[in-house]
Amino acid sequence: MEKYGIGQPVRRKEDVRFLTGKGTYIDDISHDNLAHAVVLRSLHAHAKILKLDTSEAENMPGVLAIVTGKDWVREDFQPMPTKSAVNKKIDGTPLNQPPRHAIAIDRVRYVGEPVALIVAETVSQAQDAAEVVEVDYEELDAVTDQVKALEPGAPQIWDDIEGNFCLDFELGDKQGTDKAFEAADNVVTLELRNQCVTAVPIEPRGAIAGYDKGTGKYFLQNATQNVHANRGTFADVLKIPHEDLHHMAPDVGGGFGAKNSGYPEPSLLLYAAKKIGRPVKWIAERNESFAADTHGRDQASTIELALDKDGMFLGLRTKTVGNIGAYCWTVGPFTPTGGSARTQGGAYYFPAMYYSAIAAFTNTMPLDPYRGAGRPEGSFQIERIVELAARKLGFDPVELRRKNLMPADSLPRKTPMGLDVDSGNFPEVLERTLKMSDRDGFAKRVAESAKKGLRRGFAIAPYLECTGGSPKEFAGVKFAADGTLTLRVGSMSTGMGQETSMPQILAAKLGIDFEKISYVQGNTDATPLGGGHGGSRNMEVGGSAVLQAANEVIVKAKQIAAHLLNSNTDDMKLSEGMFTDVKTGQSVSMEDVVAASFEQSRLPDGMEAGALDTDTIYEREIISCPNGCHSAEVEVDPETGAIHVERMWVVDDFGTIINPMLADGQVMGGIAQGLGQALMEEIIYDEDSGQLVTGSLMDYALPRADSMPKMKMAFYEDAPTAKNPLGVKGSGEAGCCGAPPAIVNAVLDALKQDGVLHIEMPLTSEKVWRAISEAKGS
């Protein structure tokens, strides 16, 4: 018998559907009279469109419509402005923001930019027609590297934006930090790149749009993480009232941030659907995904750490140039600026910090949040500079960390970056991680590796990150007379399991059978607002909304229970699904109360049938701070440079754990993506042509089953946050913060004897081999 309380590893409801092939993903949906679309995309990184002739394509068999930039100009459709929370330069003027249209008007600025949408009876017919659309380009010089884009004489991506400069940004105390550096005994500096990667959810993006002539309303079924915000984006493009667009997400096959954005294709599809009076479907091919799914990370940073002679940290200074691609995408400029600044310095105590950044335009697919969106970058920066400081100055890396972590009694504390760290015990989390890591057996394992000609290394990486995303969330509970109920929430799962964990909260609080609760998400008609998923907000904001709804239900249910028992409402106590009068000992079950709520005769005055139905909106005031510690043990083959991560140990402080099985899953998934970034993943554009080089899974490497270490996880649950009623801190992105530095530092520890101090991610076997060879040579 399964238990459904908070903290129980409840097996997932949605699994039965997914395991039997009954999931309904976007490409599984069909409609009567469905037409199919393909997107003709730019083959050039930067070019003027001299001529775009669709006349031959329009006459191809099966072709129903072709949408181009000319339609967009004629219809005066609107660009999609960025929602970046950082939207001003340091001097207070607005960021430089070019218009981002859903389709190229007269110039293309990255490979993969939509040039035309071809709609036909079948996909093959649309592909055939796309091949005969005549586009004459005049190629222009391109730049795909953000540092080069800022150099004088770099190709200009936007005529009216000088120097490809989007905005600059600073946070912290510059003067105080400069002073700390002047007074420091030691300063360690590191230049590093957090390379460009992409999320690669296994389900490619796709959407179906439709238009009802009778009502004048549109629908959009979309593999998205965020139906409400994107409905607004698409409706604004088409200049229609938001409520005229019904936006739905079916089962979504992974998102990781890449399905959060307001992409161009949905608006094109909506327009085409209205034009031809038929629903239109578009499903991305995988090569299209690499070119036209948002990319992530891509920051070039200089990090400086000031220490006194005992190794105490005095100050941290970071300067970053972030690539945002050819446009300000949905929140693109935020990631390298505010998104990376907040958690600078990680879990360490810094008297002074200063972060500055520039976001630059390049001829690449624009960047938007990817799992962590700035926090993994910050975490990697601090852990790499600390490791380097230990190596250069002769400190034990564990000891150096131990002495600089924020002491438990220093909390609550506002960091110099303004991050409100209210709860946690970073030293204890580090010690527990070390204890799990079998340090006593390490020497023996090193010797065993050496016998095989391999090097073994270890590293530990504490991390501190924060949540994000929309602060508001809706939860609605609707009871049916048969005792079942429906829970509607505006946050959403693209695989994380909220179909299970949200009802789990409701069932636990109300004492109602978990199996009776059905769950609705990802539907603009079902909830008046919703923040979708992003910033590890699902449990923190969505879960809190569910808890709030449960509490509001209970307030009303107590009144009914008291009425049924002829008791005072204040005397009613709810425990395990029973309302008991603390004075008389009489009780009535929640089930009875629910049944009574549908009979007017059994309700107190002022209540009407269905009185228990509850809609509520929860609003988060302050973001929470998930934290924890990863450690990694790796084996390196010095002859080939090949790395295998052998073991990882993780202790996470996510506050209250609702479902440990699902939280473990989040951590392991995050580790896999962190491992991918550390060792193998990279989006590469050809420097000269701006062509995308890693355009398929033949060239963009993803971790496989045999890439992964044995992972052991534990939770530190003694420090729930008071920032939300559940006490949760968000678990979705933490793995991406801890794993890359733990793995990279462990590799460098393995290569200590070779004198290797730094290798840029991804640590491919060739880079490792070269680093060893070069260290040998020097």
Binding site: E639, A642, M698, D699, Y700, L702, E766, R770
Partner: protein, 264 residues
């Protein structure tokens, strides 16, 4: 995919006739390369001639000191064959590491060598083992068969029927897989057959080739240490996204030593 006509002949003669009669025909064996290529519209044959139903292209036999494998024999069949494991375990192991289990259930020996992908595994085995490629009309020594990147000695319409492998005293294959595609970034097959040692390298250059200086060194002393002093030039090796020529040169040395050690 573009449109094409599909045929499934039952005999070599029927296949040859279909090929001769078509505008721009293409034989298809396991389809694990040509289907993805066609899906991406990178090839547009008028006719696909699926040779999967031709009985005489199948089967594995050992007679005397020769192992014979039919062209349409799937990688999983080679990997799972007791005859192959007994006669040339290195070949069995090589087949067991091509692609993944699903690809191995479709991909074939003949399809692989006819395609001559520079990063494929089989070409190294054929060259190092001194195998012979049998077509309907002639026999071609493996070394003469693989002529250049994606090119072979096959004439237009000529079909591989089977490959015969002399059984070596010892042999081993080592590859360093590309992390994305898992094709060979470099692969080295070492074999001692009769008095001769052959070392074939795949993945590293535009086409499989024999590493003659390795062979000479191993002729005198079949041990990894015999190879240690030999420097491998990066000249002529592939340089791409996944590995530079210098790195491939290093891998060839490492893999060759490991293959020799494995061959025992």
């Amino acid at each position: 995919m573009y449109e094409f006509e599909y045929h499934q002949p039952k005999s070599l003669e029927e296949a040859a006739k279909l090929f001769a009669d078509a505008d721009d025909p293409q034989y298809m064996a396991g389809g694990q390369t040509i289907i993805p290529v066609m899906k991406q519209r990178l090839a547009m044959p008028s006719d696909i001639i699926d040779i999967g139903a031709i009985a005489e292209l199948k089967g594995i036999t050992v007679e005397g000191d020769t192992l014979t494998i039919g062209a349409m024999t799937r990688h999983s069949e080679v990997a799972g064959s007791a005859e192959v494991r007994k006669s040339i375990p290195a070949l069995s192991s090589l087949a067991d590491h091509i692609g993944d289990p699903a690809v191995r259930n479709r991909g074939t020996l003949g399809g692989s060598i006819a395609n001559n992908d520079p990063a494929a595994d089989y070409p190294a085995a054929l060259v190092a083992l001194g195998a012979t490629v049998h077509t309907a009309t002639r026999e071609i020594a493996a070394e003469d068969f693989f002529t250049a990147m994606f090119e072979t000695a096959l004439e237009e319409g000529e079909m591989i029927v089977k490959v015969t492998f002399p059984i070596p005293q010892r042999a081993a294959y080592e590859k360093f897989p590309n992390p994305a595609s898992r094709y060979a970034t470099a692969g080295v097959f070492v074999a001692r057959t009769g008095d001769a040692v052959h070392v074939a390298v795949t993945g590293a250059a535009p086409c499989v080739y024999r590493a003659k200086d390795f062979e000479q060194a191993l002729d005198n002393d079949f041990s990894p240490t015999a190879l240690e002093e030999i420097t491998i030039s990066a000249d002529g090796l592939n340089s791409d996204l996944h590995a530079s020529a210098e790195y491939r040169a290093n891998l060839i040395g490492v893999l060759a030593r490991r293959a020799v050690a494995k061959a025992g």
